[in-house]
């Protein structure tokens, strides 16, 4: 099955040849641009990723040649548009290795996916006195929806602690799974630290107690091959814009058995089978959760991004990024007064750091002057910042199109920061 999928996703026969970063970079128009007269060094990929020409073309081609609403017209354009939208769902299914196409719900992004589950599954199953278990390294979007749900229901939000290296305390996590736990929501990869959580193990622990698990895959999908069946997760969410696709589109995967039982999130057109004033019958999956005209172009753009990633190869991406991460870590260690936050044994290519002499904002500003884009701030993870007693960090987050030379430029610019502010 897997082999067939790979053939159809168009991995070239030279898949095992050297990873040609220079060639890949040429696929990204924005990487050819300059900032303040210097070549753009884009190291803010955890915030959003850049888009290959293939994605830009897919969007333009859709609007130029196929644009029509889906599931509505009997005319040829509408059929073509519906087919293209459906093909995108198919690509997503294969990309995360889900069983059924109807288990793929298009959303606006990770945030909407989590809110959908909180407002449907959560409201249906969580009662007063129950518990929802998250971790200390969650993004705000995997904290607040649960907090609001708990307040509404009189339930309790529990937070599994992390260690000083930024790893989840797995034993504490296991202890915090109790007879009251109704749901676990955990990030696969921390956006602020890069830590990769042992989600398969965590899911096993939760399932042993009959507790379903939502995995926030926003930061995992750009770096790791995903197999939701192997993980065994009940829900998996991610955003298109972080995997080289457009903004405004995201994915919620849910096991069909669970999705079937869940009430709709939003109601309106497309999500119904029939409407009468005395009774409305909801449509089947996935349409039940896709009320209104969806982001058709966005889904098609995401499909194009997935084709592109399949072409590059997630395994080769992971290998290149592992090398970059190691090199980037060495570069940062070589600079006086730099401290890296997040030293988990298993990390994605995220380098979060602070400097003795300069505040993250000043670092970010100085790097911008060199054409280097990093994020400086709390990364929508304020509880995590508090855990490490820092107001903010500077974060360089890498994608497969980044290079050692860019990390050298980062190192050089940071040395300058040290000189100016030290």
């Amino acid at each position: 099955m897997r082999a067939v999928r790979e053939m159809s996703s168009g991995i070239p026969s030279n898949a095992t040849s050297i990873f040609d970063v220079a060639a890949l970079r040429r696929d990204f128009p924005i990487l050819q641009t300059t900032v303040h007269g210097k070549p753009l060094v884009y190291l803010d990929n955890a915030a959003t990723s850049q888009k290959p020409q293939a994605v830009l073309d897919a969007l333009a081609r859709y609007y130029a040649e196929t644009n029509a609403n889906v599931h509505r017209g009997l005319y040829q354009l509408s059929e073509a548009s519906t087919r293209a939208y459906d093909a995108a769902r198919h690509k997503v299914r294969d990309f995360i290795r889900a069983r059924l196409k109807c288990e793929i719900i298009f959303t606006r992004g990770t945030t909407e996916g989590i809110n959908l589950v909180a407002q449907t599954y959560g409201r249906q199953h969580v009662k007063a006195g129950d518990e929802i278990l998250i971790t200390h390294m969650e993004h705000h979007s995997n904290i607040v929806p649960w907090q609001v749900l708990c307040e509404e229901k009189g339930a309790r939000l529990r937070v599994a602690p992390i260690t000083d290296t930024g790893e989840l305390d797995v034993q504490a996590f296991q202890r915090m799974l109790t007879g009251r736990t109704k749901l676990v929501a955990v990030t696969y990869v921390s956006n602020a630290l890069g830590s990769v959580n042992p989600v398969k193990e965590l899911i096993g622990m939760a399932h042993a107690r009959g507790v379903p698990v939502l995995v926030d895959g926003a930061q995992a999908v750009p770096h790791l091959a995903i197999d939701v069946l192997e993980l065994g997760c009940d829900f998996f969410v991610f955003s298109g814009h972080k995997v080289f696709g457009p903004t405004g589109i995201g994915v919620l995967y849910g096991r069909a058995e669970l999705l079937e039982e869940m009430p709709p999130y939003q109601t309106g057109g497309d999500m119904i089978l029939s409407v009468r004033f005395d009774k409305t019958i909801f449509n089947s999956l996935p349409h039940k959760f896709e009320a209104g005209t969806p982001d058709i172009a966005g889904a098609i753009g995401l499909g194009a991004a997935i084709d592109y990633l399949n072409h590059v190869g997630m395994d080769r991406i992971a290998a290149h990024e592992a090398e970059l991460l190691q090199y980037g870590t060495e570069v940062l260690h070589s600079i006086d007064g730099v401290r890296i936050l997040g030293n988990a044994a298993h990390k994605a290519s995220v380098l979060s750091f602070v400097m003795d002499a300069a505040h993250p904002h000043d670092i970010g500003q100085m790097l911008d002057g060199e054409g280097i884009a990093i994020r400086a701030g709390h990364h929508c993870a304020q509880p995590l910042m508090e855990r490490f007693d820092v107001p903010a960090t500077a974060r360089a987050s890498l994608a497969f199109y980044n290079t050692r030379e860019e990390l050298d430029a980062l190192g050089k610019a940071l040395e300058r920061v040290h000189e100016v502010f030290g």
């Binding site: 904002h361 060199e370 107001p391 903010a392």
Partner: protein, 151 residues
């Protein structure tokens, strides 16, 4: 560093960032106020001692970026001995300067030493950093709140 960054990070700013003046708590302060910038996680506490309508003593502590910290530091050096009215007037001039267009002329006489912050005009996002301590000060002088935030 880039041309505009050189204009932003004036030597005076870097120097105040390294060695902030009046950077300590004040046990016997008459007024104490917190200033937050939740987006940056910046957080300062400002202390004031008033003698009638004269600022007899002023100090601050906390953490933040170079612009926020040096602005607070320079502010404390300029306001000791000034009246409330003079402090307010200086803030009006300062605010006018940092929010002006990048090429607007600077009224050196009106803003005095604060002219070192004119580079902020090119980075509107840093206006909040430069004015955080001033907003805290005004609020403390008016005695209306115990904390201010930029958001």
């Amino acid at each position: 560093m880039g041309q505009s960054n050189r204009a932003l990070y004036e030597q005076v700013i870097l120097e105040h960032n390294r060695k902030p003046r009046n950077f300590h708590a004040m046990e016997d302060a008459d007024r104490r106020i917190e200033g937050h910038n939740p987006l940056c996680g910046d957080h300062f506490t400002l202390y004031l001692k008033l003698d009638g309508d004269v600022i007899a003593d002023i100090s601050f502590e906390g953490r933040g970026c170079a612009i926020a910290k040096s602005s607070a530091s320079l502010m404390t050096t300029l306001l000791k001995g000034k009246t409330v009215r003079e402090a307010e007037d200086l803030f009006v001039q300062f605010h006018r300067m940092v929010t002006a267009k990048p090429d607007a002329p600077i009224d050196e006489k009106a803003v005095g030493k604060l002219a070192v912050f004119s580079g902020v005009r090119e980075f509107p996002i840093r206006i909040k950093c430069a004015t955080l301590s001033w907003h805290a000060l005004l609020s403390a002088l008016r005695g209306t709140h115990s904390s201010v935030t930029t958001e």
